[in-house]
Symmetry: C2
Subunit: 199 residues, 2 copies
């Protein structure tokens, strides 16, 4: 095994990857800068220039790509609550829901969980731009959840609706974090899934 020598150079990446690669790096650096600023100082305490300086990009790169600070914040929080929570696929609805809920709890707990949720609420409730953000956030979240629930139904399991998951699992976790009511312990989170499945 492994007798063939490594090729002298890594294979050339397809040309189409390059812009995506650079673009993805800029996006990652800018998102990280926003996440750090939100955690350290909170919503409403920084401007595009500060994000750009921290991310090592030009202000104009941010304006060209996101248009405004609000729009950038929206992108960051929607990404944090969707891309970073890929849907589990454990083979059973209960397993999927427990893994999903544990990840969702972790996302809003810890050092910057409150800052994140606070920003979500601020951005999602900000008039017309908030409506667009709500549609995007809920659209992304619903689509992921719907896929999980559809897989369960395809296996012959009875599955709740997406809005039941919002009402029974996500809403209590979000409100407990926002209102500062105790930590989201594994037992607590499992209890929410029990309540969802007890139908």
């Amino acid at each position: 095994m492994n007798e063939n020598p490594q090729p002298p150079t890594p294979p050339v990446r397809p040309a189409t990857r390059r812009p995506g690669g650079r673009s993805a790096r800029v996006r990652g650096a800018v998102h990280q800068a926003v996440t750090d600023l939100l955690a350290e100082r909170g919503y409403g305490t920084f401007a595009v220039a500060e994000v750009a300086a921290r991310a090592g990009v030009a202000d104009s790169s941010i304006y060209r790509r996101w248009g405004s600070l609000e729009s950038l914040l929206m992108d960051v929080v929607v990404s944090r609550l969707t891309e970073h929570s890929p849907m589990p696929d454990t083979g059973s609805l209960a397993g999927d829901l427990r893994a999903f809920a544990a990840k969702a709890a972790a996302d809003v707990s810890g050092a910057d969980g409150l800052a994140l949720l606070r920003t979500v609420v601020t951005v999602l409730t900000a008039g017309p731009s908030g409506e667009a953000a709500r549609d995007r956030f809920l659209g992304a979240r619903s689509e992921q959840l719907q896929g999980m629930l559809d897989r369960a139904r395809a296996r012959g399991e009875e599955a709740p609706d997406v809005l039941d998951v919002l009402d029974v699992v996500l809403a209590p976790m979000y409100i407990r974090v926002l209102f500062g009511v105790g930590p989201l312990t594994p037992d607590y989170v499992d209890g929410l899934i029990d309540r969802l499945l007890a139908r």
Copy 2:
């Protein structure tokens, strides 16, 4: 009937009522000004001077009584979500919970419901002053609810915990309003109570 002439002057109010009466009027006018400004323009768009002008009181009256705009906002939102929702006493737990939930839904629906909830979240999550507000808000809310649940237990009914009511009834309503997911219809709100009582 009604043959006695009206007394020439209304009865003199006890002296102790006067300061309370004036104080309550100032409080009412200031609270109304804040509520209107929140509904019309939203959180973070006005200063104490504007509240004072609208309420017809001096800036110094507001600073003397509330200390800061944040503290005033806290007082308004806590009052709106507690004093304006007196606990029903219908004689049965289910009846009490349904009346309570309908009132709570009405409080956060309508023209300024979103502005109110948005302010609650902003104020309650604002660092150390937010912690004090959370304690006050949750304390007031819990005490009211606890009384209702204790009455049910005294009648021999099995009653949920205060935090169950938060998780199952209030959290979904608050999150649906914040995320803009459909109206809180009477059927929806009744369904939350059904879920709470199905144990």
